[in-house]
């Protein structure tokens, strides 16, 4: 990291002691130096970023305040619509498409003085846990180029970890922000469903998708979430409330906070080095005054099965729109049906096809009740069990990912093995609740480990307080 924290950059740019242009130039130099080996980006917007920085500097020179993200370089996951700029979802089917509008989050970060430096790589349509499902080739983990960065927001996580941007946005449907954050050693937040507008986020599974921040530290993540959160009339699932105050609570500590370690997510299937860091994190919270006990959220053990029926079912419906008619690429055929089949067959990669097939099957006549209907009822059980746990606890704790970053190619042959990466992150999406990953120590292989802090609906402030204590403890060791 060379450019420093987003918080400091914004403060310096607003005060006129550092130019946005110099910040962006440093960022672009870092990209020039390492992007070829990391491949975090589908598109680097060097000229636009420099121009935008010059505009910010001119505003500061005129005595204006560009906002809380003044001059901060930000990378956007390439499933967020950017007006007039390619937005691909790392899929051939959208290659070359230029959206006619900006996502609400993009409008908000630009209005706050943030500078978009590029669009980051992802698993095609955000379906994956390693960023290996991209049509444009995998992203590599900046800490070890032989390892995956996690996914699906692997490009955004890698961009922050490599210092290509101070902040990044990703989307999280089953862990796609938190798992890559853990594997790349950065902070990643999945906010409460509905806290951040999804307008302009290309849909994967609409009842689970949520946009959230990546940052190098907890305070930067809080700053970015404050900017992007809050009601938006363009998203009918947006919670009709103002953005929560998060930066101001970071020093409040955890004295008396009731913390529960989720026993169902911290035993079998979790690597010993990851568990050791989880327990070290719990001890750190205890030393800071929290009361830590074991918590039981029994139905979370069914989360993976429920998720891999619900998410594909919603995806099969959402991705029906890629039919070669309104946008994206078309492969010609004699009839409309043949054109659609040829277009979708050529445009989608294997994992997207698998999920569309799985979802179509789970929704098809004769199987709907056994699969999709059952999964929706299990979703209710998970929400009920979380509610019971939150009667006794303020926040819950678990690993973010069962292991540290694995080698490229290690899990591509067996989809189910890949899906197991999401076992700790999926329950929060099914419940709509916030959760974040905080870097805490390294594994036996020297790679980063993330601890997950979970909170009830709209419990972001408490979650961030615990995260700040964990970050301080991790840094002090």
């Amino acid at each position: 990291m060379t450019i420093g924290s987003a918080f400091d950059i914004a403060a310096q740019v607003r005060a006129g002691t550092r130019s946005a242009r110099s910040v962006v130039d440093e960022c672009l130099a870092a990209i020039d130096a390492r992007e070829r080996e990391v491949h975090a980006f589908n598109l680097v917007l060097a000229d636009r970023a420099r121009s935008a920085a010059d505009v910010i500097d001119a505003r500061v020179a005129r005595g204006e305040d560009p906002g809380p993200l003044a001059g901060v370089p930000i990378a956007l996951k390439d499933n967020l619509c950017t007006r007039g700029l390619p937005t691909t979802c790392s899929s051939r089917i959208l290659e070359g498409w230029r959206p006619p509008y900006d996502a609400s989050v993009v409008q908000r970060i630009v209005a706050a003085g943030g500078i978009v430096v590029g669009k980051t790589n992802l698993d095609e349509f955000a379906m994956g846990s390693s960023t290996e499902n991209s049509a444009f080739g995998p992203t590599r983990n900046p800490h070890d180029l032989s390892k995956v960065p996690g996914g699906s927001s692997g490009g955004s996580a890698a961009a922050v970890a490599a210092g290509f941007a101070a902040l990044a946005l990703g989307s999280d449907t089953g862990g796609s922000i938190r798992q890559p954050a853990a594997l790349c050693g950065v902070v990643g937040v999945k906010p409460t469903y509905g806290l951040v507008s999804r307008y302009g986020l290309i849909a994967f599974a609409s009842s689970l998708d949520q946009i959230g921040p990546f940052a190098a530290n907890v305070r930067d993540a809080a700053l970015l979430l404050e900017v992007i959160a809050g009601h938006d009339v363009m998203d009918s699932t947006s919670i009709p409330q103002a953005s929560p105050s998060l930066v101001s609570v970071l020093d409040d500590g955890v004295d008396g906070l009731r913390v529960g370690i989720i026993e169902e997510l911290s035993g079998e299937g979790i690597a010993p080095d990851v568990l050791a860091q989880l327990h070290a994190a719990a001890t750190a919270l205890e030393k800071a005054g929290a009361v830590v006990e074991t918590a039981s959220v029994p139905a979370t053990i069914y989360g993976l099965s429920a998720y891999y029926l619900i998410a594909p079912a919603e995806a099969s419906s959402n991705l029906a729109r890629y039919d070669g008619v309104r946008y994206g690429n078309r492969v010609d055929g004699a009839s409309t049906t043949e054109m659609m089949e040829a277009t979708r067959t050529a445009g989608f990669g294997a994992e997207v096809k698998r999920r569309i097939m799985l979802g179509t099957y789970a929704l098809s006549a004769g199987y709907y009740d056994a699969y999709y209907g059952k999964a929706q009822r299990v979703r209710t059980l998970i929400i009920r069990d979380f509610a019971r746990a939150y009667e006794r606890f303020d926040v819950l704790l678990s690993p973010t990912s069962p292991t540290t970053a694995f080698a490229l190619g290690a899990k591509t042959a067996d989809p189910l093995t890949m899906y197991l990466n999401d076992v700790c992150t999926i329950p929060s999406n099914l419940a709509g609740q916030p959760a974040m990953s905080v870097p805490f120590g390294v594994g036996d292989d020297g790679m980063p480990i993330g601890v997950q802090v979970l909170a009830p609906l709209q419990g972001e402030a408490t979650m961030f307080r615990a995260a700040a204590v964990l970050e301080a403890a991790a840094g002090a060791r």
Binding site: R379, T380, P415
Partner: protein, 102 residues
């Protein structure tokens, strides 16, 4: 009854047709095996007795969200059509849909 044991290659071919995907013979074999694996994992919830539990489709209690009935700007038609693979006379153009000439 555990459904995953019944997933056949023909089922996968049928679902591919419904989803407007063409699969090669090799893909049909591979997808049948992989989808059966995922469905076998889902046997844990197939066996649960949750008949008295209400389904959840969505995590928030929001419903019937309306905007004010006021005319406002929308995306320009020509800009939308410019992003389409084919357009004509202000409309999306597709191959012939009906089997017969009209």
């Amino acid at each position: 009854m555990v459904m995953s044991q019944h997933l056949t290659r023909d089922d996968v071919a049928h679902v591919a047709r419904l989803a407007r995907l063409r699969l090669s013979e090799a893909e049909l074999d591979e997808f049948t095996r992989q989808l059966a694996d995922v469905l076998a994992h889902a046997e844990d919830i197939e066996r649960l007795d949750v008949g008295d539990v209400a389904p959840t489709a969505h995590p928030l209690p929001l419903r019937n969200v309306f905007r004010a009935d006021v005319v406002s700007a929308s995306i320009d038609r020509d800009e939308v059509l410019a992003a389409a693979p084919a357009a004509e006379d202000g409309q999306f153009r597709v191959p012939q849909i009906l089997g017969e000439e009209q």
